[in-house]
């Protein structure tokens, strides 16, 4: 049942903020994924409220809410405890931004046939399985053969995967598909990260999560192929591909 529109009293609002703080501490400091889930649940009414502003534009409200929920999850994951703002204040631009981005460039992809969504879901494992078996990255035809599909469908399914995928609200930060920016790998990189602003993409680089910065550094500075990056960071090749593309697009968008 959706939360009504009753306005909170100042003391209720303060209490809610304090409860959010406690949950954020449990999640970020203690790794308590149930606290994360509770935070998501507590702020879903905010997502619904924001999503309703974008209803009637060709997407179902449910889909818009789902996209908005991704923004909420990112906000929860990225929230720094030292921040003086409330989670709701911090999350609002994240949720709205995610919805706007969805309408701007991904709207077509959320209405994909179920068969393509299922094909996409099985693709990541198939690529890694074939890479291990062949000792190289598989061709699209080989992926299609492995999945008893066609190259055309594989290409389409890959494109589906580059759009927003459905996110389970119970998915923890350890899940492979979860873009958990708090996750750290290796040392603080000394490449792109410490360079002063010199080129078009650089100003936005520092604002990427550490894992994405590290992946970009490995790909574009070390020149490592996706397969090796995937091994180093413990992700699938397909996920690495998506993170690279998404990071570059995010950086460009931030500077636009």
């Amino acid at each position: 049942m959706r939360q009504g529109a009753r306005t909170r009293t100042p003391s209720e609002a303060a209490k809610a903020r304090e409860q959010d703080r406690l949950l954020l501490r449990r999640y970020h400091q203690g790794g308590d994924s149930t606290a994360r889930e509770e935070l998501i649940e507590r702020h879903l009414p905010l997502v619904r409220s924001l999503a309703r502003r974008y209803a009637g534009r060709g997407e179902s409200l449910e889909d818009i809410e789902q996209v908005g929920a991704i923004g909420l999850i990112k906000a929860i994951d990225r929230f720094e405890l030292e921040r003086e703002v409330s989670l709701a204040t911090y999350a609002t631009p994240n949720v709205v931004g995610e919805i706007k981005r969805h309408f701007r460039d991904k709207g077509w992809a959320i209405r994909v046939p179920r068969a393509l969504q299922e094909l996409n879901a099985s693709m990541s494992n198939a690529i890694d399985r074939l890479t291990g078996r062949l000792g190289r990255s598989p061709s699209i035809g080989e992926i299609a053969g492995e999945l008893k599909s066609t190259p055309e469908d594989v290409l389409e399914a890959l494109e589906v995967g580059s759009a927003y995928s459905t996110v389970s609200l119970s998915q923890g930060p350890g899940s492979e598909e979860d873009l958990d920016p708090m996750e750290t790998i290796g040392e603080e990189d000394e490449g792109f990260d410490q360079m002063e602003t010199r080129t078009s993409l650089e100003p936005a680089f520092d604002r990427l999560p550490e894992r994405e910065r590290e992946i970009l550094r490995m790909r574009f500075e070390e020149g490592l192929p996706q397969t090796q990056i995937a091994e180093r960071v413990g992700l699938s090749q397909m996920h690495v591909s998506r993170l690279i593309r998404k990071s570059l697009a995010t950086m460009r968008d931030e500077l636009a």
């Binding site: 690529i127 190289r136 990255s137 699209i140 035809g141 389409e156 000394e190 792109f192 080129t199 090749q237």
Partner: protein, 127 residues
């Protein structure tokens, strides 16, 4: 040498279509997943730097195990500057460094009115 030509609006609304076409072409040459992804990324980043107004031609010349792609006319001087200027310094992330990582070679060709065409060459690994 087979040739495929495409004219597309620069608007980001058409990026997914372009990606699918690039992927389909690379697939016909039996490119590996990461090679397909590289070529898609190269074209995508070029288009992203080219703004959103107007349209652009993309042509593909298909060899036995390579594809040569021409993208243009591009009017953003920043693209030519990034690709023709001094090499990026260590740690510098720009279009040139991205293209150097994802295609086997690239070049800039002058077109009319100060615009440029960017040539991208991607080879399929022998296997």
């Amino acid at each position: 040498m087979d040739r495929i030509e495409l004219t597309t609006p620069l608007s980001r609304d058409f990026r997914a279509v372009v990606r699918l076409i690039v992927g389909g072409i690379a697939e016909t040459l039996d490119f590996a997943f990461d090679e397909v992804d590289d070529l898609q990324l190269a074209v995508e980043r070029l288009l992203a730097e080219a703004g959103q107004d107007g349209s652009v031609n993309i042509s593909f010349q298909l060899g036995s195990r390579s594809v040569r792609t021409h993208v243009g006319p591009l009017r953003e001087r920043a693209i030519a500057d990034a690709l023709q200027g001094p090499p990026p310094e260590p740690g510098e992330l720009n279009l040139r460094r991205i293209l150097e990582a994802v295609v086997d070679s690239y070049g800039v060709e002058d077109a009319a009115d100060g615009a440029i065409y960017v040539r991208l060459e991607k080879l399929r690994e022998a296997r």
